[in-house]
């Protein structure tokens, strides 16, 4: 599904994207290969500015699909590092709670 054009806020974000363009950028395949390292460094509070990792951040700023996966991996890696990765049944129970709470809305006849 597409929108037709940009609203003012989207326009300014787009402009930022254009100006943030670098001469050399890695593609999605290369990003996937570097992502685990990048996430581990971030979770450990390390230096994301090292030469090898700079292109990762540049790509993530330009690619919503990869950025989404990065956020997912970061969340999981953080939870694991904290020993708080939920058990499967715990996550599923939460899904169920939310399904139930939304279905409690009584239709008006």
């Amino acid at each position: 599904m597409g929108r037709t054009t940009l609203n003012p806020e989207q326009f300014l974000n787009w402009l930022e994207q254009i100006y943030a363009t670098r001469e050399a950028e890695i593609d999605c395949e290369r990003l996937q290969a570097l992502l685990p390292t990048y996430v581990d460094v971030e979770v450990a509070g390390g230096d994301l500015g090292e030469a090898r990792l700079v292109p990762v951040r540049a790509h993530l700023a330009q690619c919503p699909a990869c950025h989404d996966e990065y956020q997912g991996l970061l969340a999981v890696a953080r939870l694991e590092a904290q020993g708080r990765l939920p058990e499967a049944e715990e996550s599923l129970a939460q899904f169920e709670e939310e399904i139930e709470s939304t279905s409690e809305v009584v239709p008006v006849h």
Binding site: M1, G2, R3, T4, T5, L6, N7, P8, F11, L12, W14, L15, E16, Q17, I18, Y19, T21, E23, E25, D27, C28, E29, Q32, L35, P36, T37, V39, D40, Q62, C63, A65, D68, E69, Q71, G72, L73, A75, V76, A77, L79, E80, L85, P86, E87, A88, S91, L92, A93, Q94, F95, E96, E98, I99, T102
Partner: protein, 207 residues
Amino acid sequence: MWALTEQPGEVQNDALRDLHDFLLRAVLVYLSQHRSELAGWSRDDVRRLAEDLAQEALLSIRESLSSFKRESKFTTWAYRFVINRAASELRRRHYQNVSLDQLREGEPALFQAVLLEQGTIEPERMAERRHYLKLLREIIERDLNERQRAAIVGVHMQGRSMDEVAAALGLNRNALYKLLHDARKRLKARLQAQHLTEGDILAAFQD
């Protein structure tokens, strides 16, 4: 990880079972971040999807074990597989065919909505904004080739996914990324050739 490859039968099976469990837990975290895309799904639906994704990821991981270079934790490396699979699956479910014509049709509407909702802006301010938008439109029309333009319109303006626009252009995702990158570099270079910084344009658009 060592147990997955170098140990006999039973130890290997235990390791695989453990890894499967971790992958399942990881993918459920990802899916819960995207719960709005799973509206109307039952707990069992979600469990089935998560199980399928974990299983597929496990197969990929086993095939790719020799490519693990110890540059990250083994678990982070493994989780990436299942999250990538889950993301692809969610994108697949939202996928809509789009034609090159539909992308071309988006060109005239570029930036039309940017000047809406302007409230009470002084005429000079408004004129400045129009000027910059006209300039950007001209650069896009004059300095990008047809495919670069279609890519920018599709992905940046119409908010379509990379997969949808790549298919419309007959490219794979990496090739589309490169096309977009080339287009962005051109746009940036043209703006800089006119000595326009991001700050110049932002100043015109901020109240």
